[in-house]
Symmetry: C2
């Protein structure tokens, strides 16, 4: 893809190495948080099972990258990065429940309610959501309190009843019925977009970005969030099930509303490219500390899983 | 009961009027928060249905009373009071689910999953839990941020995987099996006690109580929390179903572990009285701004529902 030939050349940036390093940091911290519980009971086992099952960690990586883009460092932002992954994981556990999407496989492993049981899965989800706010409020730096309070507000708005949860309501309501492109975008913006935006915004706040930087980063995030969902839909049509961990064409079988169904495969690919171009444009004036964000934007649509 | 004849005479305190006034304040604020959503969709309807169904509002009233006891005022603490009621309500919605206690009636009305459906009830619970943290982080007073961050930490610890949620895990695990008095107390301390403690502690923090006052108030709260549960168990045995809204003897039918089953009715009553005496003792040196807390302690064991 020729998107790399923008006004800013970041072709030398080694994204794989960047993601690997950040993933080690994030997974170590998540492990530390969960295993700091003295007695490992059924509840913490279920929480760990889902939280430490090898997700892509896109939200925490974006949070750290956004912080670095405005001059912050990875350690200051780590609690927020972990909290975002906990909220993402809780949403997956609850979405997979029999009363919701009734999914039995996630990341190639039995879903939480299959591996444990339904009540434990509901409570493990509740516990991860609550733990996220415990972690976000555990940083006892008096003069940083206002910043963390702001992050808690941003994250709770994104995850809440006018954000991610309303997105899941709409997703379920729209199965087996046709919706417009606008309705599809609104649904995905709520279901996955707003938490991706909150990840980038949280990182920028904690990295002490100024309000103009934060606004540009939010535009960046909004665009990559939608592109992320389009790529998910495309992978469901074209992806290799051995790599994606999901059955090919399962969206079509379940009569789900998807971008390929509404725009076709080529139309969806072009739409995703346009969004990534807009994302790169939003951070055009940022220096090379934002190369990770630039490379992540491309990765969003080029990934194979 | 002669508990009123303690070293501090609060017999003139009009608790009914106090609770009524606070309930109006709390319900008005909860209404305002929930109805500020522009479009009333299914999700917000389910959230309102459970949140505004006329609970006793014990946690928010305790939060406000604790704040006033250390010289704070009701308005400063109102967001915390509302957040605590949201967390309590979310826990009831999830506990009532078919995969959990499978209850169809709550406060004399169909439970959330019966009135709506299971997926909506799960998401309405998730949304109320998330909204609680949104409200706790919405107070934008820069020099008060550290206090609110501390409250978020206290509340998330109480509501989380080493608090309320673990309590529900143990409650379910203990059905149809016999547990000791120690195990019963630990379970109830987790399931209901810690959130009651957090309610009192949050109020005391926001009212600018000093650390000694906060410690004494936590002892008060720990004792009334357990007495509250014992009274719940006693009402299930002796209460009037027309007033309690629950079938008499339903705990016994469901083979639940209760205080009357372990200590007998008189033994349970005496245990509850002892706890209330200890609660009153903990705040003995507090002035008459704590009379609401004193009267609430008695109300806990004298209530009929």
């Amino acid at each position: 893809m020729n998107l790399k030939n923008s006004s800013h050349d970041f072709s030398g940036f080694d994204l794989n190495s960047y993601i690997s390093k950040k993933n080690i940091l994030i997974n170590d911290e998540l492990n530390k948080i969960i295993s700091s519980s003295q007695n490992s009971n059924l509840l913490t086992k279920a929480m760990s099972y889902s939280l430490l099952s090898g997700g892509k960690r896109i939200r925490p990586v974006l949070c750290i990258a956004a912080s670095e883009a405005v001059g912050g460092n990875e350690y200051d932002v780590l609690p927020a990065a972990c909290a975002l992954e906990m909220i993402h994981t809780y949403s997956l556990i609850h979405d997979d429940l029999p009363a919701m999407d009734n999914d039995t496989l996630r990341r190639g492993k039995p879903t939480c309610h299959v591996a444990f049981n339904e009540s434990t899965a509901i409570l493990a989800g509740d516990a991860l959501l609550t733990l996220a706010f415990q972690i976000l409020s555990s940083v006892h730096i008096n003069n940083g309190a206002a910043k963390w309070l702001k992050v808690i507000h941003v994250v709770s708005l994104a995850a809440g009843y006018r954000g991610m949860i309303e997105g899941q309501m709409r997703d379920m309501a729209s199965e087996n019925s046709h919706i417009s492109l606008k309705e599809l975008e609104d649904m995905h913006s709520l279901k996955t977009g707003v938490l991706i935006e909150a990840s980038v915004e949280s990182g920028a706040i904690l990295g002490n970005g100024n309000s103009e930087q934060i606004e540009q980063l939010k535009i960046y995030a909004k665009n990559i969030g939608l592109a992320f969902q389009i790529t998910d839909d495309l992978l469901n049509v074209k992806g290799d099930p051995a790599i994606t961990g999901k059955a090919a064409g399962s969206d079509k079988t379940r009569n789900k509303n998807t971008y390929p169904a509404l725009l076709g495969v080529t139309g969806s690919e072009n739409h995703a490219k346009k969004l990534i171009t807009d994302a790169l444009h939003a951070i055009e004036t940022f220096d090379n500390k934002s190369d990770s964000l630039r490379a992540l934007a491309l990765y969003i649509i080029e990934r194979k899983r």
